[in-house]
């Protein structure tokens, strides 16, 4: 299958670039003054968080398009995006505590942003569980589209809550109303990391999409 092969290639390129970005992050990007080497995890944590948010957004978008156009492709894409998003949110939720332990002195705290990203992860799981619990393919597609759209609408509320609470979590320093306050070299590394994570997302989703196509074609799937 062409899609599967392309997906594999893109993922492969993404992984090589990931290694390259990390060489840059570890060796050629200045060490943060207060946090020391612990800050290096930032280049994995933030892009994976952004990509999992993006994945949820795309699941919702795919849901809207599916309900409007009744095109099976959007449903397959939603499923793929949700699974890949789950993987990225696991990366976000594991790298976070690893950073938090030396910096905050605790693995986990019920800070607004932490709590709500945990719920993003549970939203993904709920989406996948719902798909698993419905046997009829038509119902499955419609139900998951509805849930995806609700998830998309929930995201702004999550964001709103994050800004309204006093929080321990570092505030965004790139995507904020004023100019980014990150030193140029770190910003460059972060942006490169973003690009790599998006490439990985695309590669994974393509492979997952190809997989559901294969499953549908298989006689006794």
């Amino acid at each position: 299958m062409k899609l599967l092969k392309t997906g594999r290639w893109i993922t492969g390129i993404g992984l090589v670039l990931l290694a390259a970005v990390y060489v840059r992050a570890l060796a050629f990007t200045p060490v943060e003054r207060f946090q020391g080497p612990a800050q290096k995890i930032y280049y994995v944590h933030v892009p994976s968080a952004v990509v999992s948010m993006m994945a949820m957004g795309l699941v919702g978008l795919a849901g809207i398009l599916f309900l409007l156009l009744k095109d099976q492709r959007f449903d397959r894409f939603g499923e793929a995006s949700a699974e890949v998003g789950t993987a990225f949110s696991v990366v976000m939720l594991t790298t976070g505590p690893i950073w938090a332990k030396p910096i905050w002195g605790t693995w986990w705290t019920w800070d607004a942003r932490l709590t709500l990203t945990l719920f993003l992860f549970l939203l993904f799981l709920g989406y996948l569980l719902l798909r698993g619990a419905v046997t009829d393919p038509g119902l499955k597609a419609r139900y998951s589209a509805v849930l995806g759209i609700c998830g998309l609408v929930l995201l702004p509320f999550i964001h709103l809550s994050v800004y309204l609470f006093r929080t321990l979590h570092p505030q965004p320093i790139v995507l904020k109303p004023s100019a980014p306050s990150l030193p140029g070299e770190m910003l460059m590394t972060l942006l490169m990391s973003f690009v790599v994570f998006v490439i990985l997302y695309v590669g994974f989703v393509m492979q997952r999409y190809a997989l559901s196509l294969l499953r549908e074609e298989a006689p006794h799937a």
């Binding site: 993003l120 799981l125 569980l129 719902l130 046997t135 119902l139 419609r142 609700c150």
Partner: protein, 223 residues
């Protein structure tokens, strides 16, 4: 459409109040949860008023879950849902009817739960009763709106009773956080102005999700 919704809600509530099993179970369940909370805390270490908002909202959350689970299960018996879908009424009025019935059901449970909560935990609520009822109403509308939509979906899946909470809780958390904060401010004797921010958020959540569920509901039942 509103008339149809009202007929449907009245049918549901009539079934409910004639049989009384679900509503009574939900009320007894609420009392039991409150009792469990009483034994789950150390009264000498934690003052009741500090714990009160969480007790109130956890109890209401569980009670609402029970109510929502039964909303569409009722229609599965004897394929009543198919009959409902064949009726010459719009899908959206089915949603509205279910929403109204669920709201009345949950409100009844809450109306019993609130005085008992005040009694059991010795929290004086009379002086903030009106504002407290407003907070409870706003939060309840929000999560019952989402819950009614989701229960229409989960009712026709395997392990519906388990799947509904798993899907619904992430959506209940934001309104619950705001409701708990508003309740805490009220019970601590703060002026209502300190809670208006949370109330506004709750109202925004209600408007957005009632509209969304109203629009999306037909997609969950169309055959």
């Amino acid at each position: 459409m509103l008339r149809h919704a009202w007929y449907l809600a009245r049918k549901d509530l009539l079934v409910e109040f004639r049989s009384r099993t679900a509503i009574l179970s939900a009320v007894v369940f609420t009392v039991l949860v409150l009792m469990v909370f009483n034994f789950g805390r150390d009264p000498t270490a934690v003052a009741a008023v500090d714990l009160a908002p969480s007790i109130l909202w956890v109890t209401f959350t569980f009670a609402a879950m029970l109510a929502l689970n039964r909303a569409f299960q009722l229609e599965l018996e004897n394929q009543a849902l198919d009959g409902l879908l064949l009726a010459p009424i719009s899908r959206s009025s089915i949603y509205l009817g279910k929403l109204i019935a669920n709201l009345v059901f949950v409100a009844t449970v809450e109306a019993v739960g609130l005085p008992l909560f005040a009694l059991f935990f010795n929290v004086s609520i009379l002086h903030v009763l009106a504002s407290l009822v407003a907070v409870i109403a706003l939060a309840t509308i929000g999560f019952v709106a989402v819950g009614t939509l989701f229960s229409a979906m989960t009712a026709r899946t395997r392990f519906a009773e388990l799947l509904l909470p798993v899907l619904l809780l992430p959506f209940m958390i934001p309104p619950l956080i705001w409701a708990v904060l508003a309740t805490a401010a009220l019970l601590a004797g703060r002026p209502l102005s300190e809670a208006t921010g949370w109330l506004r958020l709750l109202a925004a959540f209600d408007i957005v999700f009632v509209t969304l569920a109203f629009v999306l509901f037909p997609a969950t039942v169309n055959e």
